[in-house]
């Protein structure tokens, strides 16, 4: 556990890191970024917390059970979105033209509309959820194991 200054600053910074990560995930279909990148940004916040506080401390709030559920759920949402187009073909972009993310942007350069992209924004969210849970679990498990402790089974 590091000094109080570091802990306080980390406590404040994590909010901004979370917001930035969520922004990168949510705008993955308009700007560079997406689920993986945003998820990695959020995990960097988790790592910062892990350094500022200790991994044992973090284990109390990020339980393995929770991370497992989050990760499986993210993967399942992704797989479900993939199979949902099976009326035509698996991975068919079935949301284009529907009210949910279904708008089609003007062809050529434009300023970007959030409600476009078909199943890409939801998929970005699913991947983001998965990456956050998965990488946090790996980092936490490695840190705890190196300290001679284990994550609960």
């Amino acid at each position: 556990m590091l000094s109080k200054i570091v802990r306080t600053v980390a406590n404040q910074l994590i909010v901004f890191i979370l917001i930035f990560g969520l922004y990168v995930i949510a705008h993955g279909h308009l700007t560079p970024g997406g689920g993986f990148q945003g998820g990695a940004v959020i995990v960097s916040g988790v790592v910062m917390l892990m350094v500022a506080f200790s991994s044992q401390e973090l284990k109390k709030s990020l339980r393995e059970r929770l991370l497992t559920i989050m990760e499986s759920t993210g993967a399942l949402i992704f797989a479900a979105l993939a199979i949902a187009g099976i009326g035509t073909v698996v991975f068919y972009n079935f949301l284009v033209g529907t009210p949910i993310f279904g708008r089609i942007p003007p062809i050529g350069p434009n300023s970007g509309d959030f409600w476009t992209g078909g199943f890409i924004p939801p998929m970005n969210f699913a991947v983001g959820l998965k990456v956050v849970a998965g990488l946090s679990a790996v980092v936490l498990a490695l840190a705890l194991f190196a300290r001679g402790e284990e994550m609960e089974e």
């Binding site: 560079p32 942007p105 050529g108 434009n110 490695l142 194991f145």
Partner: protein, 117 residues
């Protein structure tokens, strides 16, 4: 061969992959071996992303893009995929090295070799 002055990015990427191959073959320290694999993946990723560059091209994103050609999107997508794959591989390798260190107290591949033949 007439493209030598133009093809330096490819050369650099291939050289990076080649140097890391040297590390993988000759270094005995398992952590260095893992670093070699990480370097090799960087080299390959650089190579693939360099393949898609178009002279004077913009990023292939239509949001407020200036006029002009766009670089190829597929190599970027491939690189994205392969970066994540390499992260996954490295995580698993490091876990195994931690275990090997636990068992043998050493990360030298010559000394920690329990299996022979």
């Amino acid at each position: 061969m007439e493209y030598i002055p133009l093809n330096f990015p490819f050369l650099a990427a291939a050289l990076l992959a080649g140097i890391s191959f040297y590390i993988i073959i000759f270094k005995r320290n398992l952590i260095k071996l893992i670093m070699g694999i990480a370097m090799m993946s960087s080299g390959v990723n650089l190579f693939i992303v360099a393949l898609g560059y178009r002279a004077g091209g913009n990023a292939p994103i239509y949001t407020d893009v200036p006029e002009g050609p766009m670089v190829l999107p597929v190599p970027q997508a491939l690189t994205l995929t392969s970066i994540v794959i390499n992260v996954a591989v490295l995580a698993l390798m490091l876990t195994m090295v931690i275990h090997i260190y636990r068992h043998t107290g050493d990360i030298d591949s010559k000394k920690s070799r329990i299996l022979k033949g």
